[in-house]
């Protein structure tokens, strides 16, 4: 089954600009993409990266460059063939198990909510579905399916709900992953700090 992974190669993770500069944000975004592709690899999904600009390195799967907005890209893909999965690229905790659960959840459309109200993964089995990724998209996607008479399944997975958007989200990567994204953060000096009781993230940058 096809799985489209949309990727912003130009200005990814702009909300991390208080803790990472632009080259760091691009490198970290690539690490997260690689974690997502590594989770997809042992599953039945066949990943295809659709990126806004050429990638700095080959991810080892087919890549298409398409500068259009996300909804236009996904609409084209749905018209081409269903079932289609759409998996966000900023899910460093993603696991093969949660992807297999996505594949086995019933529904004309299966939605996996993101913590902040986004739709972090979806599986579209009916070509009548349309996406609207702006704002609190999980609610809009439920409403669109309802309006079109399509059944909706939902995937309850922390590993899918955890997208990386704000600096505070880095804590979850360090706490719950041992993938490339976590390695990249550790290499960049990020650490979990637990001395005050509640875990937080700190960064130590070498001065030499």
């Amino acid at each position: 089954m096809r799985a489209v992974v949309p990727f912003d190669a130009r200005t990814p993770n702009q909300r991390l600009s208080t803790v990472l500069d632009a080259p760091e944000r691009r490198a970290f975004a690539m690490a997260m993409l690689q974690d997502v592709l590594a989770a997809l690899e042992p599953t039945r999904f066949e990943p295809h990266v659709i990126t806004t600009a050429p990638l700095p390195e080959s991810p080892g799967v087919p890549v298409t460059i398409d500068e259009r907005p996300l909804d236009a890209v996904v609409t084209t893909e749905i018209e081409r063939q269903v079932p289609l999965a759409v998996i966000m690229a900023d899910l460093p905790l993603l696991t093969p198990d949660s992807l297999n659960r996505l594949a086995h959840t019933a529904g004309d459309v299966v939605l996996a909510p993101g913590r902040g109200g986004g739709t972090n993964a979806m599986l579209v089995r009916d070509a009548g579905f349309e996406t609207d990724y702006h704002g609190a998209s999980i609610r809009d996607h439920r409403a669109i399916a309802r309006a079109k008479g399509l059944s909706v399944g939902e995937l309850d997975a922390f590993s899918v709900a955890t997208d990386v958007d704000e600096p505070e989200d880095l804590l979850a990567v360090l706490l719950h992953s041992d993938g490339r994204s976590a390695d990249w953060l550790t290499g960049a000096g990020f650490r979990v700090e637990t001395s005050t009781g509640r875990p937080t993230v700190t960064r130590t940058v070498d001065s030499d």
Copy 2:
């Protein structure tokens, strides 16, 4: 199977003090407890609330008052009988489905991580396990199980990982729940604001 739900009836949710006063925090904590008990109700778990002080209203399940620290309370319960589930009281998105998955996950100990590094639910099948709920407890609990030669299962559930600790966590309740906690927040004037693109929470308090 017994399910202990520890509850702080005295000073719950102190990190919400910037958005809720003390009586509001106690009322909201009771709403979250009721959501947790409502999720447990149709499952095989038999809930038992262990509270630091008398509750303002009966939750409809057995209640024990015990002022000791959480680890001491849970140790006593594990010594009494296993299997034992320990479910945190601040999980307003909790569902019967995720609890059934907890019950069916293999392992001498099954751990459900919280977003911030806590252990939001656990199922202890081997009385040799010990808890340590301070700091990033999910990592400590994995290490304790390993040190004792116990197998660990993990539950990947957004509905269990979402605890309410900081004001920003209220967004997830409003976005993803229609339970008592969400009703309470709505009644107190909290709303999801999506006009800026990324959803946030705002509060409107009636002036009359």
